[in-house]
Amino acid sequence: MGTVDFASVSKTFDGKTVVQALAEVDLHIAEGEFVALLGPSGCGKSTLLNILAGFERQTSGSVQFDGRAIAKPGPDRGVVFQEASLLPWLTVWDNVVFGPKVQGVARSIYEPKALEILKIVGLEGFKQALPVQLSGGMRQRVGIARVLVMEPRALLMDEPFGALDAQTRLSMQELLLGVWQKLKTTVLFVTHDIDEAILLSDRVCVMSARPGRISRDIPITLPRPRSINDLTNPAFIQFKAAIMAEMRGAHGAH
């Protein structure tokens, strides 16, 4: 479970000037696969994620999750937003259990699970804190925890570490690697950071802009489990060189 199928998906935004955000995008993600969408800002990678999340609707083409067309957002596809987008009036704990609570899950079921996940993301001591009292990295840990507690079949992450400093970003990437190693959930990870894309994913889909399309689909064959030490590994550097060449080419062609 957790398969994703985009078949010739296009998306245009109407306005004073019509913007074609996506043009005939095909993308298949297998169960348990970690796929990164890599590209410059404005290439439509977030639009692609938003369509899968059910936040936006494609103009044409078909998008399926587990063989069914996307109708609306739902807890089977957990979204991690760039700025965490926690509910600021709720404590860390209330943010994490928001999903199970509104879905009517029994407290005896979600409580131990939420506690365990808070421990995994290292926030068990901050249950009663408000989001505003946390650092950006801690907020994003809550953003991940509130999604994991719902046990989604896919994780959709929209530049989740883009707003964090380099140090925090590394520790968050390591955290995500560890969590994914255990859960093996399908992940669609949007980023503009080449290192991040290679380090985390099984496949890097390089996108080009105007109109947004997937220009290359590169399997990352680095062995797992990975860690941030792989960032200086020669095989890693080779992937990086190839992707940089691809991205430069995509820009040059424009």
Partner: protein, 304 residues
């Protein structure tokens, strides 16, 4: 890392003081901390009092024989005497109908404001949220509200008296009407200015439309709603005085107008000060409630 936890400085000072008294001597640091904290608490109240005291002093000194403006107005000392008599005197038959009736009239007015204000909240908050949330409701209801809003509450007086007569109901109707507009408009604004991703996050986590309204839209609109409540309550006090001057026979507004007719300007002024005081105290109450409910919002505004 953590920006705010328990206030560490206050806790540390407390700790030092406790340690000092336990050891039987007062270290210089703790004494300084206490000495420096005291005026900062008192000084803001002192600053707030400078202007009114100055104004009252000027008013007092510009008077001769207890009157200013050639006898049109009494001086503050006379107003004070009138108020003390109005508030604490023993009611008697005869020429002074105001003796000892201050509290009674305050309660009449306060009760009307409270009733009208609560009805305005009950109507204005849900309607405002609905207008902000649904573009259909906005299109149907909002133009009418914006069109009725410029009609001042004083213009509603004849209709109110015609329908409700000289009874409490008319006053409460006017208060409700006056408080309703700012409450509904601010609730609308609050429901409209919500971060799109909060809604998306809630839907992603499986929240229904109703759950999203209750658990996301309403709390997110709260800061704006409280702004509306403060403005609405202020207008409620205006409305109660207007209504009592004309549409009922009790309360501070009635006393104000009645005292004017019989030339008791000392009572008029004491009445005005009382209205201001009640409005101020009720506003402080709303601010206190919002400070308690909206800790998240306060912290956010301070740290950004």
């Amino acid at each position: 890392m953590t920006v705010v936890d328990t206030p560490p400085r206050a806790a540390a000072v407390q700790h030092t003081i406790a340690a000092a008294s336990a050891s039987g001597r007062e270290p210089a640091r703790a004494t300084t901390a206490r000495w420096m904290r005291l005026p900062s608490q008192v000084s803001s109240s002192l600053l707030a009092l400078i202007l009114p005291i100055t104004l009252i002093a000027i008013w007092q000194w510009s008077g001769t024989n207890g009157v200013v403006f050639g006898g049109a107005l009494p001086t503050p000392d006379r107003v004070w005497t009138a108020w003390v008599n109005w508030a604490f005197g023993t009611p008697t038959f005869g020429l002074n109908p105001y003796v000892g009736t201050w509290l009674q009239n305050v309660l009449f007015s306060a009760e009307r404001v409270a009733k009208g204000f609560l009805v305005a909240i009950a109507a204005g908050v849900p309607l405002g949220i609905a207008i902000g949330w649904s573009s259909l409701i906005a299109k149907v209801v909002d133009p009418t509200i914006q069109w009725l809003r410029p009609v001042p509450i004083t213009a509603w007086l004849p209709i109110s008296i015609a329908i409700f007569g000289i009874r409490d109901f008319g006053a409460i109707f006017l208060i409700t009407l006056g408080a309703f507009y700012p409450i509904v408009i601010n609730a609308t604004q609050g429901a409209r200015a919500i971060d799109k991703n909060w809604i998306r996050a809630a839907q992603m986590m499986g929240a229904s439309q109703t759950a999203t309204l209750w658990r996301v839209v309403l709390p997110a609109a709260m800061p704006s709603i409280f702004t509306g409540l403060r403005i609405g309550l202020g207008i409620g006090w205006t409305a109660v005085i207007v209504a009592e001057m004309i549409a009922v026979k009790s309360g501070l507004g009635y006393v104000l107008w009645d005292a004017y007719y019989v030339g008791r300007m000392d009572i008029v002024l004491a009445d005005m000060v009382s209205i201001g005081l009640l409005g101020y105290l009720s506003d402080r109450l709303i601010v206190a409630i919002s400070g308690w409910l909206l800790t998240w919002h306060r912290l956010q505004s301070f740290s950004q």
